[in-house]
């Protein structure tokens, strides 16, 4: 594939759009070979793990929620569970069920946002969903996505108090549990949402997928009785199966020069993928019945190694989340009390839950007053960053024949497969301080 002219190509995106946070892409190809490839994260560090030191344990769900405006519930769930372990607290089945319902709400709002507003425009050649909505035949599609997202947000706001940075979840449970009649009011909307999610699967399965696969190690939680959200063991497509407590023995984060985010990898070397595609690949038999039917009908085989198919995996999880939300509301019993009593004591605990973008790890060490002495947070996007770069190394050679603008767009689309949340990934362990201004 040598060319007489133009032997050097540069794919450069100064500011990645339709992702959460600030990132850039710089790839140089000389004579058909990649000589430079950087997914650069320039989102500024905010040092959450540092300033959590000295805060009370009950501050952690409120403060860590502020790492990400799109998935605050994930931070509240991982922190609450980890701290309950540190404090030796067990919650009740009713609190457990309400937490799953809250997580369904966040999966719905986050997945609908990504499928319709952030990712689908790439497949159809629009720069944004706003541009898509300007087309008469696509406007109803965008409106469907917005309404699904709104229903997720309404459920989230009812349980949590508001959709972004909810106030009710806490260590021990909830400051306030919703009444059954309040939840039942959302039943019709959720039924509509379930149908809309089924249409979403059919629609995303019909999108044109670039012909690309990679040899991934998929990693997700897995639970014997349910689709994983708040509980389970860590499993991988290469046979790993460990308890959450062993996570740091098997996975490490390292700092690379061009990035304000840490890159995670397996201790023995390789990158891995977390998120909806990993979850569906590893837990497809635990999807709700309607999600399993939709998977069959979609004609897309799972497990699947094409990262662009993640938009279908996300759509299947939308079906699951709507269907499970309906079950949970049907069977809802208000937790009394809404939170179990929690007393400060010294201890350490870690926990993983499944954020919309994949596994989110939290670990805390407390002193005897319940003040945080040490905090460790490993968000899903830092786990995927190394994998995104590996994908680009393999993918770029397949798009070199395209005009540069199209090749660049394809690379962006590849990154958006991961629904990257760069604000989350930039949590940082190392820094250089510049004094003064």
């Amino acid at each position: 594939m040598t060319r007489a002219t133009e032997t050097v190509k540069q794919i450069k995106v100064d500011y990645l759009a339709r992702v959460e946070g600030e990132g850039a892409l710089d790839i140089v190809v000389e004579d058909g070979r990649i000589t430079h490839l950087e997914l650069r994260i320039f989102e500024p560090p905010r040092f959450f793990e540092a300033f959590l030191r000295g805060r009370g344990f009950q501050d952690a769900p409120d403060i860590t929620a502020r790492i990400c405006g799109i998935c605050p519930v994930a931070y509240q769930m991982s922190s609450a569970h980890a701290l309950e372990k540190a404090l030796g607290v067990t919650t009740t089945p009713a609190i457990r069920a309400l937490r799953r319902l809250l997580y369904c709400a966040e999966w719905i709002e986050s997945h609908a946002l990504h499928v319709y507003l952030l990712h689908a425009p790439d497949f159809l050649g629009y720069e944004s969903a706003i541009a898509m909505a300007a087309e008469p035949e696509l406007r109803p599609v965008v409106e469907r996505g917005l309404r699904m997202k709104k229903i997720g947000n309404e459920l989230l706001a009812l349980i949590g108090g508001r959709e972004i940075h909810p106030v009710s979840p806490c260590v021990g449970g909830f400051y306030r549990a919703p009444r059954r009649r309040e939840l039942l009011k959302l039943k019709e909307d959720l039924e509509w949402g379930l149908e809309a999610a089924l249409e979403t699967v059919a629609w995303t399965a019909s999108l044109p997928f670039p012909d690309f696969t990679a040899d991934y190690e998929f990693v997700a939680l897995s639970h014997p009785d349910e689709y994983p959200m708040n509980e389970g063991r860590v499993v991988s497509s290469r046979g790993l199966e460990i308890p959450m407590e062993a996570f740091e023995e098997h996975f490490v984060e390292e700092h690379v020069a061009h990035s304000n985010a840490l890159h995670a990898r397996r201790v023995d070397g390789g990158s891995y993928q977390v998120g909806p595609l990993a979850r569906v690949n590893l837990n497809r038999e635990k999807l709700s019945p309607k999600a399993q039917e939709a998977m069959e009908r979609s004609g897309i085989p799972f497990p699947n190694n094409n990262p662009f198919v993640s938009i279908v995996a996300r759509s299947l999880e939308l079906v699951h989340a709507f269907e499970e939300a309906l079950w949970l509301i049907e069977g809802y019993e208000e937790p009394v009390p809404s939170r179990v009593p929690v007393s400060p004591r010294a201890g350490e605990g870690c926990h993983i839950t499944e954020a919309p973008r994949g596994m989110l790890y939290h670990r805390y060490r407390l002193d005897d007053e319940g003040l945080i002495q040490e905090a460790r947070i490993i968000p899903p996007t830092s786990q995927n960053l190394k994998r995104m770069e590996d994908d680009l190394w393999a993918f770029v050679p397949t798009v070199l024949e395209l005009p540069l603008e199209d090749a660049t767009w394809r690379c962006e689309q590849l990154i958006r497969n991961y629904d990257p949340c760069i604000s989350c990934a930039t949590h940082f362990l190392k820094m250089r301080v510049r004094r003064g201004e």
Binding site: Y15, F47, G69, K150
Partner: protein, 271 residues
């Protein structure tokens, strides 16, 4: 509306240009615009969304009529970039606790950052950061601000509407207490002895926390002329330790002056 339009010349009739810029933040406040699911497409019809990286690939250059700024200033690059954003913006609105008060990341402002590095981080690194996280108004002139962590999307839509038709945005300056009364929430501090920042915090959220059976934690920052010190002493009477009081005032808007001064006072007491 039609009379107004008739009086406008052709240039003024073009759609106002909206831009959204992000500094150190969680993205939640700009997400509020995308969370206005019923209004988003209507807004996109009325204004030209010229720069909104979280939502669109198209990035048009300034100048912009209305610029929403999310996030605080924490790096040398951000301190420079906000100057350029200001130059490109006719009307600059800061949105959220990070942009208006420095955000939760302003907790670094009480620490010696070098010591902080030595304590927490073993190895030197590649990152530039400032010692402080500061609100946008410390760096450039701000025309209007929307408080909150996150902002209230109804306030955001009201602001956009107000700017479109040329009226003042409506933002309350009273305390959260009035919102509790209006909502019919029994006072959590009076009835249950739970420390609550509501009496000194600006309204706007709808008094969510007390309605969910917990004290306000100050997302909207200090109201006009708050008496935060007296409230802190009331917390002491309720049995709160100085440490708890310091931590309560040092939250998402802890670097806002009234809260900052109060938390410093109680920290002195502790020493």
């Amino acid at each position: 509306m039609s009379e107004r339009r008739a009086n406008e010349n052709a240039e003024e009739r073009r759609k106002p240009r909206l831009a959204v810029f992000k500094f150190a933040s969680c993205d939640g406040c700009q997400l509020s615009l995308l969370d206005a699911e019923d209004e988003l497409l209507a807004v996109a019809g009325q204004v030209e969304i010229a720069y909104f990286v979280e939502a669109r690939r198209q990035m048009l250059e300034g100048p912009y009529d209305v610029t929403l700024v999310e996030g605080s200033i924490t790096t040398p690059e951000e301190a420079e970039r906000i100057q350029e954003v200001r130059r490109q913006s006719r009307f600059l609105v800061t949105i959220g606790a990070c942009a208006t008060a420095g955000g939760i990341q302003a907790l670094r402002n009480w620490r010696d950052v070098d010591e902080f590095v030595r304590l927490v981080y073993a190895t030197p690194a590649y990152i530039d950061t400032l010692e402080t996280s500061t609100p946008i108004s410390d760096h450039v002139t701000v025309d209007f601000e929307l408080r909150g962590c996150p902002i209230n999307k109804a306030q955001l839509l009201d602001l956009i509407t107000a700017l479109l038709i040329g009226r003042q945005p409506r933002v309350p300056t009273h305390s959260v207490c009035l919102e509790c009364k209006r909502r019919g929430t029994v006072c959590v501090m009076v009835a249950q002895g739970i420390p609550c920042l509501g009496p000194v915090t600006q309204a706007g959220c709808g008094a969510i926390c007390p309605a969910y059976n917990r004290g306000c934690y100050g997302c909207y920052g200090p109201m006009e002329a708050p008496n935060a010190e007296v409230l802190g002493r009331r917390f002491q009477d309720l049995g709160a330790s100085s440490g708890e009081i310091v931590r309560l005032f040092r939250g998402f808007t802890g670097y806002a002056e009234a809260f900052r001064v109060t938390s410093d006072q109680f920290e002195e007491v502790r020493r």
